[in-house]
């Protein structure tokens, strides 16, 4: 009986140690229309054509940069998607002007309504990002900021964390100021 008790206690101790070692997988929260994933936010999907995005946000885009400046193929527009303000990044596809169109390559928002599928959003810190995306490739570091017309330097307050998908073709981007998320977005990874 005494031996049995000793074994029982030993088994209990071993079991509890094992439980401690096992890391709880991060729980996903219920998806909403503002959940940000590597594909976009709600109906706004990366890769969409400008005409389709216009229908969703009910707004006509004026790509001034591309129209006014020859050689420019990128443009940014601000829009309202449901209750959130978003910056939409477009890129012209195809060199042929007759068949070319603008493709949505990225979007960024500062809305507190917008969170990732793990509940990471505005106001969270870096460790809140790193925990759930533990198994994903990540690059992070201070952002560059313009000091004057000719000089750029690494910022002392601005920081970004980029969580890539396994194919390294899309990423969720978190912009932090003074160690807290101030905006988040999603984009295509270019040139890699």
């Amino acid at each position: 009986m005494k031996n049995f008790l000793v074994y029982l206690i030993l088994a209990f101790v071993l079991l509890s140690c094992n439980q401690k070692d096992k890391k709880e997988p991060e729980k996903k929260i219920e998806k909403t229309e503002y959940t940000i994933t590597k594909d976009g936010i709600g109906d706004l999907k990366i890769g969409m054509r400008d005409a389709d995005v216009e229908k969703i946000v009910n707004q006509r885009f004026n790509f001034r940069m591309v129209i006014d400046s020859p050689g420019y193929w990128q443009d940014t527009v601000k829009a309202k998607y449901k209750d959130i303000d978003v910056s939409l990044y477009f890129e012209r596809l195809d060199g042929d002007s007759d068949s070319s169109y603008m493709q949505l390559t990225g979007l960024v928002t500062s809305s507190t309504l917008c969170k990732t599928e793990y509940g990471v959003g505005i106001g969270d810190d870096r460790s809140a990002i790193l925990q759930p995306y533990d198994d994903r490739p990540i690059d992070m570091g201070p952002e560059y900021e313009q000091v004057n017309d000719t000089t750029w330097a690494l910022s002392k307050t601005k920081y970004s964390v980029n969580v890539k998908d396994d194919k390294w073709d899309r990423e969720i981007i978190f912009h932090l100021v003074n160690k807290k998320i101030v905006s988040l977005g999603v984009g295509l990874i270019m040139g890699e």
């Binding site: 790193l130 490739p137 690059d139 992070m140 570091g141 952002e143 690494l154």
Partner: protein, 166 residues
């Protein structure tokens, strides 16, 4: 006069102590004297051994990796070039716990410590590697090979593609 001599001696001591690089240092430039970019002849002198190519200058391959001993420690070096004269040291790695960065990061250090230590640097984190990018020259980096979130290997290598952060 005595004070003057004492002061001079003290200054000289401080100068040499700060100017001398510590032994077993892993930096963006390389490991100890094995600096990225040095030629084959210099590498052979430091390793006190001859390097015999199997590919460089023989076939189409212009990079070769060699297992070598440096200061009694096993190392792996990458050489790059098209012939004996142009070949340069392109990468170097070790699993020895003797070798550390200036901040004391080496074999056994965990991921969190690396992230916190290099807060002002650019880091690329994957399951197998953490790459610390030189902010003054994004083409060179210190690479930590990771296993179970601990460093098991350390070295200096050219940086893999890094996102434009502007």
């Amino acid at each position: 006069m005595k004070k003057m001599i004492l002061f001079t001696c003290f200054s000289a001591l401080v100068f040499f102590a700060t100017a001398q690089k510590p032994d077993h240092l892993v930096s963006f430039e390389g490991i100890d004297e094995l600096q990225i970019g040095i030629g084959k002849a210099e590498i052979e002198k430091l390793l006190t051994t001859r390097i015999l190519f199997k590919h460089i200058g023989i076939d189409e391959q212009y990079t070769e990796t060699f297992k070598v001993k440096y200061k009694g420690t096993d190392m792996e070096i990458d050489l790059m070039g098209s012939d004996q004269k142009t070949t340069r040291l392109d990468g170097i790695r070790t699993t020895s716990p003797l070798f550390k960065t200036a901040e004391g990061i080496g074999i056994g250090t965990d991921q969190e410590t690396i992230i916190n230590t290099y807060e002002k640097h650019l880091l690329i984190i994957t399951k197998e590697y953490i790459t610390l990018v030189d902010i003054d020259n994004i083409h060179s980096s210190i690479v930590f090979r990771m296993q179970n979130k601990k460093v098991v290997g350390i070295g200096t290598e050219p940086t893999a593609a890094f996102r434009d952060r502007e």
